[in-house]
């Protein structure tokens, strides 16, 4: 019997493409975030609100990832923001190579912020680096305040948590303080914002924070 030692990361190919993406982003001085969450948490609504807030300040482009349809890309295009839709046709996450291929459809010159909206899934996207500067995870109040404990990898790999649908707090059992405590227990460094895409609450704070990072002011 021969034992052949390998010692390689299983996802090293993805990591390598992510590294190349990161080099490309750096060449264009492009700040990139990877927006992740479970389906229905309000990612696309947050994206729309964020774009409305930021599009007058900086040039933004969007990559949309969905299992099927270009409905989200249509919503973004309606805001006159350049957008490319990736349809994964069953794939449960975006991979770095899909993002690389989508980038060929975007004119990156002048773009300062690229927002990648991942497939709605709190498990699989956690493993796949796309080359982003940071992952931003959305958890809505209707999902329950124990989500970070159930899906710790995603919350651990994220830099920012947006607690969305806070306008619904009077009607649900979730407690914002419990959600924050649970999230910080798996990632003490998480930056947390509370948002509502009905009242618009918190969008300004989150968007300004993102803008400051994008412009290297922090």
């Amino acid at each position: 019997m021969n034992v052949i030692t390998v010692e390689r990361k299983i996802l090293e190919k993805n990591d390598e493409v992510a590294r190349q993406n990161r080099v490309l982003f750096a060449m264009h001085d492009l700040f990139v975030i990877n927006l992740v969450s479970s389906p229905g948490s309000g990612k696309t609504s947050i994206l729309e609100y964020t774009l409305k807030h930021l599009r007058k300040e900086i040039n933004v482009a969007v990559i949309e990832g969905d299992v099927q349809t270009d409905l989200d890309a249509q919503r973004v295009a309606a805001l006159n923001v350049p957008v490319v839709q990736i349809v994964t046709k069953g794939g449960c996450h975006l991979e770095a190579s899909l993002v690389r291929d989508a980038l060929s459809s975007i004119n990156l010159s002048g773009v300062q912020l690229l927002i990648i909206e991942n497939v709605g899934n709190l498990v699989c996207p956690a493993n796949y680096d796309l080359g982003e500067a940071m992952k931003v995870v959305v958890a809505s109040t209707t999902e329950g305040d124990d989500k970070p404990l159930k899906y710790p990898a995603m919350f651990r790999n994220a830099s920012v948590l947006l607690i969305n649908k806070i306008d619904l707090l009077p009607y649900v059992d979730s407690k914002v303080e419990a959600l924050k405590k649970n999230a910080l227990s798996v990632n003490p460094l998480l930056q947390i914002f509370e948002t509502s895409c009905v009242t618009g609450e918190g969008i300004r704070e989150w968007s300004n924070w993102l803008l400051a990072h994008c412009l290297h002011q922090v």
Binding site: M1, N2, V3, I4, T5, V6, E7, R8, K9, I10, L11, E12, K13, N14, G91, C92, H93, E95, V123, C124, A126, N127, Y128, L149, P152, A153, M154, R156, L184, S185, V186, N187, P188
Partner: protein, 120 residues
């Protein structure tokens, strides 16, 4: 179900590292998978078998070593573990800890029969 994609990545590493002849004789592929890597061992086995059926690797198996989630406390210096992936030192109750293992996702080695053994 990203385990299928992970299994595909394992097969690509096999294809790069082993000759066609060696691939016929793989007994096992040893993996190291962290408890907090977000990978279900059973799903990975299922995906691997689905992809290797009727191929030279069909008799091979995945041997998965699970690596516990371990944190190093920045306050008391101790190491501790918990099943939930919580950033917490169970020795001194501090939350000022650094993760030192638990998110591994690696191919460690292939175990390959010698031709002589394989023909027995």
């Amino acid at each position: 179900m990203h385990e299928l994609s992970i299994a595909q990545n394992i097969l690509e590493i096999v294809a790069e590292r082993l000759t066609a002849d060696q691939r016929e004789h793989v007994k096992s592929i040893k993996l190291r998978v962290g408890e907090q890597a977000g990978v279900v061992a059973e799903s990975l086995q299922f995906g691997f078998h689905a992809l290797t059926e009727s191929t030279p690797l069909q008799a091979s198996v995945l041997e998965i070593e699970r690596v516990p989630f371990v944190v190093q406390c920045q306050k008391c210096g101790g190491q501790s573990t918990n099943d939930a992936g919580i950033f917490f030192c169970s020795l001194c109750n501090s939350d000022n800890v650094r993760m030192i293992s638990g998110d591994e996702l690696e191919v460690i080695a292939f175990e390959v029969f010698d031709e002589k053994e394989a023909t027995i």
